[in-house]
Amino acid sequence: MPEEINLEIFNADPITEDLANQTTEAAPKTYASAVPAGDAALESQADLSAEMKAIGEAYGRALKDGAPAEIQPRLDYAPYRSSVLRHPTKSLHHADPETIELYSPAFGHMDVHALESDLTIAHNGEPLGERIIVSGRVLDGDGRPVAGQLVEIWQANSAGRYIHKRDQHPAPIDPNFTGVGRCITGPDGTYSFTTIKPGAYPWKNHLNAWRPAHIHFSLFGSEFTQRIITQMYFPGDQLFPLDPIYQSIVDQDARDRLVATYNHEQTKPEWAMAYNWDIVLTGSKRTWTENEALGAEGDHE
């Protein structure tokens, strides 16, 4: 289970305190007063949207001219400003995976307690917000279940606030919600988390930038080459066209793979709405033993 968190240090966030000190009068803490003055110089959503549109249209033309579909986000996607100095400028070097890369670290029930998959019970009280169940399967590119592997998630609370010193969003922290969970996939690759629907939150990519509600997922496959961290989104979010992180995947079909579906059959009456999201890792490069193909867990050695 996550360690108990000292919420006081977040309530006394030095960055937030500094902002409060800048206001000479005891002005009510409104959104406007919480925005640093420097933000006025930030680019507008219209600027960013125009940039994203141009990139999308260029991709559409390339597709028509026979270019292959792009199934991963672009590392070099300027509308996501933080990527500008953080993407390699040389193309990734083709390499054949070697011994260690053809295996994955093993995780098991020694590593993860069953209760860690319920993000609503980590504290004494019930967190605020819409209780949801998020479940699905982890598969490799050949459709085989990824059994006995680690899934880690993290997310904002229902008000769109992360427990993190660098989250300056003036939305309330929920003392009953840390927003982190883990589980080990079942023999059929299934995972399931009980949590709270995260809120959208503002960020500083440009003026009035808001991230669509999402849950971060971290996954291991059967090989280190399949390691992936990604984000799951909720269906119908109006922020999708405005968000440079989501739009860094320029292919609509590929983007759609990050969006969960609402499942009324699995929704529990009087309790929680259910969403499904299956995750497909890249194809495996190793020749599998029969035991692995059957989904044996890694605890045996």
């Binding site: 590392l75 100095l85 953080r86 054949d96 280190f224 961290i229 989501y246």
Partner: protein, 194 residues
């Protein structure tokens, strides 16, 4: 049996800045306890394209044990202090630096150049980057290595650690620009995808 259908992979997204309560865990960077026999320090700094340290990257390493065996033990998240699981993770510090306590991996096959597999995640980085850090000593093995042989000397250098006087390894990661680390693409690897 029919050949299984190839499914389109789920795209990646950035790790973002807010993984602090989710991904780090107790002793995440200590594959074995510091100071235990055979332990070494693997240290370095992660830099961006302007040459500035990145304060919010998170790294993972995965490696063979000192005998070159691939570990299959669970227990990386809850370490017992004795079992070598081969996996470690660390968020970099405010100055972009990282430290792992691990062992020198042995060669996984006779004559192979030992290396540690590395995955790099960061805010602003849309997908993880894979790379390798090779031990510097066995020059014959390094010169035979398929990946290293396919690189020009300037780039090859970015994958080979320096040996520190205390026996540890120093190795920096440059995401962009001068001395940009070689990052790997395994997607189109040859061989049967059974």
């Amino acid at each position: 049996m029919n050949k299984p259908t190839q499914l389109a992979p789920t795209p990646a997204q950035t790790v973002g800045p807010f993984f602090g309560y989710a991904l780090p865990y107790a002793k995440d960077r200590e594959l074995l306890p510091p100071g235990s026999p055979g332990s070494i320090r693997l240290q370095g700094t992660v830099y961006d394209g302007a040459g500035h340290p990145i304060p919010d990257a998170i790294l993972e390493i995965w490696q063979a044990d000192a005998d070159g065996k691939v570990p299959h033990h669970t227990g990386s998240l809850v370490r017992d202090g004795y079992t070598f699981t081969g996996f470690g993770r660390t968020a970099v510090g405010n100055t972009g630096t990282f430290t792992f306590t691990t062992v020198n991996p042995g060669p996984t096959e006779a004559g192979a150049a030992p290396f540690i597999a590395v995955a790099v995640f960061a805010r602003g980085l849309m997908n993880r980057l894979f790379t390798r850090v090779y031990l510097p000593e066995d020059e014959a093995a390094l010169s035979r290595d398929r990946l290293l042989s396919s690189l020009d000397p300037e780039r090859r250098r970015t994958l080979i650690a320096r040996r520190d006087p205390d026996g540890g390894l120093s190795w920096d990661i440059r995401l962009q620009g001068d001395g940009e680390t070689v990052f790997l693409d395994f997607r189109d690897a040859e061989g049967p995808s059974t």
